[in-house]
């Protein structure tokens, strides 16, 4: 590959709401310079994880280098950075954006701007990007390009008069996008002769190569054999391979300022490669790291337990393997009286949680129970100690607590007028504070401060249901605030079920306690003994349900020919108990916990 001067490099990201055509556009951009053979051209080449394809979301940052012969007669190197599209990966997004100088803002011309688009576009603006609006799907009869242009100006404050009008699906005006990249985006800046400074954009584990690191060179050059140093960790590695994605992995001699590419360096785990870290040369290090590095911090925690206790070892191994590829998720062993041995796991958000859970079941064939997600509370003890609470059952006695804080988010919700009332009611019910409410055409945009705790509960499902699926939602972590929080314990015949305890705001405690008791009453089959289900705050019972003893369960006829069959039935009954958890004399099927933990109705 011939070297292209830095003035002819354009690094760009694509910002879009799910389904607005980001992947389709990316696929269009790639084949035009003839990078992939037909066989390699499976749809949506950039989203290469099975799960990413299925959900239409990007989990890992991906990149591809294209060489584009522009109308000015010169060939440009275009580096497309595909960013994770979801707020859970907001920090990863910010690092991907930091690797680029501009963004394409892709908006569906028939749908308009959505909440997710907004959050990402603001991040791009924060990253000083030059933003090129692109209206996609203009071939659809429902397309309203003029209205959507106006909306982009009104809502985002971007001049959309020069928006590129395309149809990624039919290939209409893809050329216009490529030209806009060349003419409207600035080239990167960088100093070839300065010490190496490369941004670690992302990393993942490859079974053959070990950890592959995606980098953007800011200053200096990166070559095979170089001894590099991770500036946050201080660890050093020898570079084995340097390359670019075209989109196949292609080895190059070196990466120069402004370029995006990958390196491998015999690194065993991605935990050694923090996103946002600065890579420098060990022998000739940069004086200071690139700004903006943050270690990833899980904001949502839940317990993961194998349904079959015998799978614990497999769960341990599987979590280890996942962690090889995803350093942002955390896990530590924990034991629950109700669920046995498992792990308390921390995630960047609810989607991240769902993805990990799904990968565990799909890639590792594990049948898991997840406890209700909990946010990280801050506990200020009477003695002045401050600690973080990841698991509601670890909450100290209230008498030892001076006060507690909970995380709040800033949520942006876009919703058609017709459903606005219901959405506002929902936000208010969840202790939300309205920060902003604006109308754009027949759509409203509400900005709310909400406690994250209320969102992990069943907010998504409720929002979907009250807006019939029309509301879009996005959030950013905001701050911690002091709050009147209590732990609600669920007791079965007087024994607390640790897996079901949760922390809630005092105002919601009683209703939520009652709802879980009622739910359990429906879920737990009648048994030999009557079962009392209680919700309690400390020693005070706030809700109670009783499941009566079953009244009849007997075989009418049992003679000499029936003994073997009856004994085998009894053995089966015993086998079934492996899936039960014993509380004194009461056995609760694990399926009841599972269903109770799924808080959606």
């Amino acid at each position: 590959m011939t070297s292209i001067p830095i003035e002819r490099i354009r690094n760009f990201a694509i910002i879009a709401h799910i389904d607005h055509g980001k992947s389709t556009l990316a696929d269009r951009l790639i084949p035009s310079p003839g990078a992939l053979t037909a066989r390699e051209m499976t749809s949506q080449v950039l989203d290469n994880m099975e799960l990413e394809k299925e959900r239409g979301i990007t989990i890992k940052a991906q990149t591809v280098r294209l060489l584009y012969p522009a109308k000015d007669g010169l060939t440009y190197q275009l580096n497309l950075m595909d960013t994770p599209g979801h707020v859970d990966f907001a920090y990863e997004v910010s690092r991907s954006l930091a690797a680029c100088e501009g963004s394409l803002l892709v908006v569906d011309a028939s749908q308009g701007v959505e909440a997710q688009t907004l959050a990402n576009v603001y991040q791009a603006i924060d990253a000083n990007h030059e933003i090129v609006p692109v209206l996609n799907k203009i071939d659809l009869p429902a397309a309203e390009p003029e209205r959507v242009k106006q909306q982009i100006e009104d809502v985002i404050g971007l001049d959309a008069s020069d928006a590129v009008m395309i149809s990624a699906k039919t290939g209409l005006n893809i050329e216009g996008v490529l030209e806009a990249l060349v003419t409207r985006l600035p080239p990167p800046k960088g100093e070839l002769n300065a010490p190496l400074k490369a941004l670690l954009v992302d990393s993942w584990y490859d079974a053959y190569l070990g950890v592959v690191i995606l980098v953007r060179i800011k200053d200096g050059k990166l070559k095979k054999g170089m001894k590099i140093r991770m500036m946050s960790l201080g660890s050093t590695h020898f570079v084995d391979q340097v390359g670019v994605f075209s989109p196949k992995m292609t080895v190059v001699d070196e990466l120069l300022p402004g370029e995006i590419g990958y390196i491998t360096a015999a690194i065993k785990t991605v935990a050694d490669c923090n996103v946002g870290d600065t890579i420098t040369e060990d022998r000739n290090p940069a004086a200071e790291a690139l700004p903006g590095f943050k270690p990833s911090i899980p904001v949502v925690w839940c317990g993961l337990y194998p349904v079959d206790a015998d799978d614990f070892e497999k769960l341990r191994e599987s979590l280890g393997k996942l962690r090889l590829n995803d350093a942002s998720f955390h896990y530590e062993a924990e034991t629950s009286a109700a669920l046995g041995f498992g792990y308390r796991c921390g995630f960047l958000g609810l989607l991240h949680l769902e993805i990990i859970q799904e990968r565990l079941s799909r890639e590792f064939d594990l049948d898991l129970i997840a406890t209700a997600p909990s946010v990280v509370y801050r506990i200020h003890r009477n003695n002045g100690d401050v600690e973080e609470l990841h698991n509601p059952s670890d909450m100290p006695d209230p008498s030892q607590i001076d006060h507690m804080e909970e995380p709040w988010i800033k949520a942006t919700i876009m919703v058609p007028d017709d459903y606005l009332g219901a959405v506002l009611t929902l936000c208010n019910d969840r202790r939300g504070r309205q920060m902003d409410l604006t109308y754009v055409g027949n759509r409203a945009m509400a900005v709310y401060a909400l406690p994250l705790n209320e969102v992990v509960f069943d907010f998504y499902d409720r929002l979907k249901s009250v807006s019939r699926g029309y509301a879009s939602f996005d959030y950013v972590m905001d701050r911690y605030e002091e709050s009147d929080l209590v732990r609600i314990s669920i007791l079965v015949n007087g024994d607390p079920v640790d897996a079901l305890s949760f922390v809630a705001h005092k105002s919601a405690a009683e209703a939520r306690g009652r709802s879980i008791c009622m739910k359990l009453k429906d879920l737990i089959p009648k048994q030999l003994f009557k079962i009392a289900i209680q919700a309690a705050i400390g020693g005070r019972v706030i809700a109670r349900e009783t499941i009566g003893a079953l009244s009849k369960d007997v075989t009418a006829k049992c003679y000499g020919g029936d003994i073997s069959r009856k004994r085998k039935l009894l053995d089966k009954q015993k086998e079934g108990k492996k899936r039960m958890r014993q509380f004194g004399k009461v056995e609760i099927p694990q399926s009841a916990f599972l269903a109770a933990l799924k808080m959606d109705n």
Binding site: Q527, L528, S551, G561, I563, L570, Q573, K577
Partner: protein, 383 residues
């Protein structure tokens, strides 16, 4: 002293198949009586030779419909059994019969053959119920059969099925009272059970048969014991009622987990031989069973060694059906497992506390409240 053996003899044929029944019964246009007679006698002789002399406490002819047997065969089998084993002085010999006129005509002959206890499959004294249960007899025939049987046999039992679809508490009380007036010393009163693979099951699945809800079933069950007691019949097993001393000795052998021999197609037996316990059963289909007997002297198709832990579970699930409960000393002796080792002690204590089980110096027994929940109770307390 060796406990007496119980001998079960199975006649696998019926005139028609009842839609609720899942027993091993077969309908044939013609039956080769000579062949099955020979096969039954051969298998009995084979087993007697195999297990050696033992006291014999009871013989039970079951089915199918054993009253369809020729009385001569019944006589021959009784003679064989009492010659091959050592019958106790008051040996109980029961034969099951249906109250159809054909079978009733043979009652005197069965008595002459040595049968001293008759068990009649009356099932109901309600005409519509008899029809929906697919029975071949009507109410008048049932009454006639009962009167006749009382005159001929020293001991008489009959079966009724209750907790039928749409049956009310008062209707059952009335029907049962009529039945008790006709009863001698024993009744088997079963709540209708939907058995897998029967026509009733298919209809139940389609919602055409609705069984009484549990609460009503419980009230029906309790009313049954109340009414029976008025006539001096006490419940001694979950579905069996008798005047004191008139309990079915043969069936008690099953519930007490004694050794029993089973002859005929599909018959089961459980025997301790050379200090090991085996559960064996015969080929279920009549003709292949007979062919096996003709070839090998026996028609055994399955044989399973019962380990002490399994024996303990079996003795618990049978013994707790009886009001008398389980004798702990005999339990340890029969199974090789001390009673307490077979029970989950935490659950045992809870079940006693709840009033489901009772324990005294010698016995563990299920109370009425425990019996009606016995399947769940076993699941909880049996290790």
């Amino acid at each position: 002293m060796t406990e007496p053996l119980a001998l079960y003899i199975h006649w696998p044929f019926c005139l028609s198949k009842c839609p609720y029944c899942d027993f091993n019964s077969h309908v044939r246009e013609r039956i080769d009586h000579a062949r099955f007679a020979a096969a039954l006698r051969t298998e009995l002789a084979f087993e007697a030779a195999r297990i050696g002399p033992r006291p014999l406490g009871s013989i039970f002819f079951g089915g199918g419909t054993p009253s369809l047997m020729e009385p001569q065969l019944v006589a021959d089998l009784i003679a064989d059994a009492t010659r091959l084993f050592a019958p106790v002085a008051d040996i109980e010999i029961t034969l099951e019969a249906n109250p159809t006129s054909v079978e009733i005509g043979k009652l005197t002959a069965f008595r002459a053959a040595g049968v001293n206890r008759l068990s009649l499959g009356v099932q109901s004294l309600d005409a519509a119920a008899l029809q929906s249960l697919g029975r071949q007899h009507d109410v008048a025939e049932a009454r006639r059969a009962l009167e006749l049987a009382r005159a001929i046999f020293p001991r008489l039992s009959f079966d009724l099925i209750y907790a039928r679809p749409d049956q009310t508490l008062s209707a059952w009380r009335a029907e049962l009272t009529q039945a008790l007036a006709l009863a001698a010393d024993h009744l088997s009163l079963y709540q209708l059970t939907i058995e897998p693979g029967t026509p009733f099951e298919a209809r139940h699945r389609r919602g055409e048969i609705l069984l009484p809800a549990d609460d009503l079933a419980v009230r029906l069950y309790e009313a049954t014991a109340e009414e029976a007691a008025k006539f001096g019949l006490q419940r001694y097993e979950i579905s069996n009622y008798a005047k004191p001393g008139a309990e079915s000795r043969h069936n008690l052998a099953y519930w007490r987990y004694a050794d029993y021999l089973g002859i005929g197609a599909g018959a089961h037996q459980r025997l301790v031989l050379d200090a090991a316990r085996f559960a064996e059963s015969r080929h279920r289909a009549p003709e292949p069973w007979a062919a096996l007997v003709e070839q090998h002297g026996h028609g055994t198709a399955h044989r399973e060694k019962i380990e002490p832990a399994d024996a303990a579970r079996e003795m618990l699930l049978m013994g707790l059906r009886l009001n008398e409960g389980i004798d702990a000393a005999r339990f340890a002796q029969r199974t090789g497992v001390p009673l307490d080792d077979a029970l989950d002690q935490t659950m045992l204590r809870a079940a006693i506390e709840e009033g489901y089980l009772e324990r005294d110096a010698t016995h563990l027994r299920a109370t009425a409240q425990g019996q009606i929940r016995l399947d769940a109770l076993l699941g909880a307390v049996v290790k």
